[in-house]
């Protein structure tokens, strides 16, 4: 497959920069696959996994909310956070999951607090999922 340029940028710096053959990302409206010479395209990413094919091998990364932008000469993913599936701190994710679950069982939460806790739970689940646990 023809490779194309991809970069993933987070507030912690440039997470990935290089060539890839295929990117599969979960947007807010469903999964999209990007191959070389895709038309210009911009989509909002939810919490989900991004699969990146490098040298015929798929690598999995957990992304929490961001933007996918396919330009003429390169594809960019801007994400709040991004981690490789095999480098995720499973213990910390478990911890976050438990905290969020506990928080969600509290009925006195305001709608906003509830949304935040739900977001955190989703993120923790996503990270665990990406880590293959």
């Amino acid at each position: 497959m023809t490779p194309f340029k991809l970069q993933i940028i987070t507030p912690r710096g440039v997470f990935f920069k290089g060539e890839t053959e295929n990117v599969i990302a979960r947007t807010t409206v469903g999964d999209v696959g990007i191959l070389a010479k895709h038309e210009p395209y911009v989509a909002a990413l939810g919490i989900g996994k991004v699969r990146i094919k490098i040298d015929g091998q798929y690598r999995l990364a957990a992304v929490s909310s961001g933007i996918l932008k396919v330009g003429l000469d390169k594809t960019t993913i801007l994400a709040q956070s991004c981690e490789w599936g095999d480098k995720i701190d499973v213990e910390r994710a478990e911890e976050a999951k438990k905290t969020a679950e506990k928080r969600l069982s509290d009925v006195s939460l305001s709608a906003n607090e509830h949304a935040v806790a739900e977001f955190k739970l989703k993120r923790a689940l996503n990270r665990l999922d990406a880590a293959g646990k």
Binding site: R12, G13, V42, A44, I67, K74, Q80
Partner: protein, 303 residues
């Protein structure tokens, strides 16, 4: 300075000397913290630049945005996000930024709501009984994206619900090692017509050049699900990143201001020690001369 006796001069030299040690140490601490803050800014910058670029592309394609973040309303209530330092002894750093805030809110009929970042800011606005929505003392040194997200959420929620009609951020921009400017920037409603989000992006001294500018700007881009939806997604991200950058930059400015203040304090202390030593030596010489005179006078009287 009146000529004191030798003992008191000696004591003063000692006390100035120990002050000198403190100012020297603070100077060095500040410069190492400044270096770290600069490195942090360099990490944040690519993200910010990429977001800004994307925003411009969308804005270039579609001018008439009617999303909630761009809606201009009559400004009655304002929210100020104010970033200042946690500690004093940084020259005019804290007072400059706070003065800018008060001069900005002087004509308001209702005083602005405040999100205070930094211990000094919190203290100041508490003292003058402002309406503090949220406070973050000891924050700028170890900024966390999640906390910046909280601030961005609070601000955009207040804006969305109509409790405030304008959100501004006050921080100290790092221009160079010798110059830091108190800056005020409008965050919401978001102005898409502006060329750059503001000066926060391009600081030759803060970062090496980044290579994000797409040479060709894509036309007829497909937005999924819609340009507005993507735009509404980007705004919170860019707010967060502006707040994050502003905190880091403000911290760099604080350290730089402190380093300069401490540098001149050390210089002054050195000068003072020099003067005092001269005085001390003179006094000692005078004393010796007097003693010799006395001895010679005494000897003369005997013979």
């Amino acid at each position: 300075m009146p000529k004191g006796n030798m003992k008191s001069i000696k004591r003063r030299i000692k006390s100035v000397g120990s002050t000198l040690q403190i100012t020297r140490a603070m100077e060095m601490v500040a410069s190492s913290k400044l270096r770290r803050a600069k490195a942090k800014a360099a990490i944040l910058r690519p993200y910010f630049n990429a977001l800004d670029e994307l925003l411009k592309e969308i804005a270039a394609e579609k001018k008439d945005f009617a999303t909630i973040f761009t809606a201009k309303r009559e400004v009655k209530n304002r929210l100020f996000i104010v970033i200042a330092g946690d500690r004093e002894l940084a020259g005019g750093f804290n007072s400059n930024i706070l003065r800018l805030v008060s001069s900005n809110s002087a004509d308001d009929s209702t005083p602005p709501k405040i999100i205070a970042i930094g211990k000094r800011t919190v203290d100041y606005f508490k003292k003058y009984k402002h309406d503090i929505v949220a406070e973050y003392p000891y924050f700028a040194e170890n900024v966390k994206a999640s906390q910046c997200a909280d601030i961005a959420n609070i601000a955009s929620d207040l804006f969305k619900t109509g409790e405030v009609d304008e959100v501004r951020i006050f921080y100290t921009a790092y221009i160079s090692a010798l110059r830091q400017d108190a800056t005020d920037l409008k965050l919401l409603p978001f102005d898409t017509t502006k060329e750059k989000a503001e000066g926060i992006t391009e600081k030759p001294e803060m970062v090496e050049s980044s290579d994000h500018s797409d040479s060709k700007i894509a036309r007829f881009v497909n937005y999924d699900p819609s340009p507005e939806a993507v735009f509404d997604r980007i705004i919170p991200m860019i707010l967060l990143s502006i707040i994050n950058c502003a905190c880091v930059e403000s911290f760099a400015s604080e350290q730089s201001a402190r380093r300069n203040a401490m540098e001149s304090a050390s210089d002054n202390a050195e000068e003072m020690i020099e003067k005092l030593s001269l005085q001390y030596n003179r006094a000692r010489q005078e004393k010796i001369t007097n003693e010799i005179n006395e001895i010679v006078g005494g000897a003369n009287a005997i013979s």
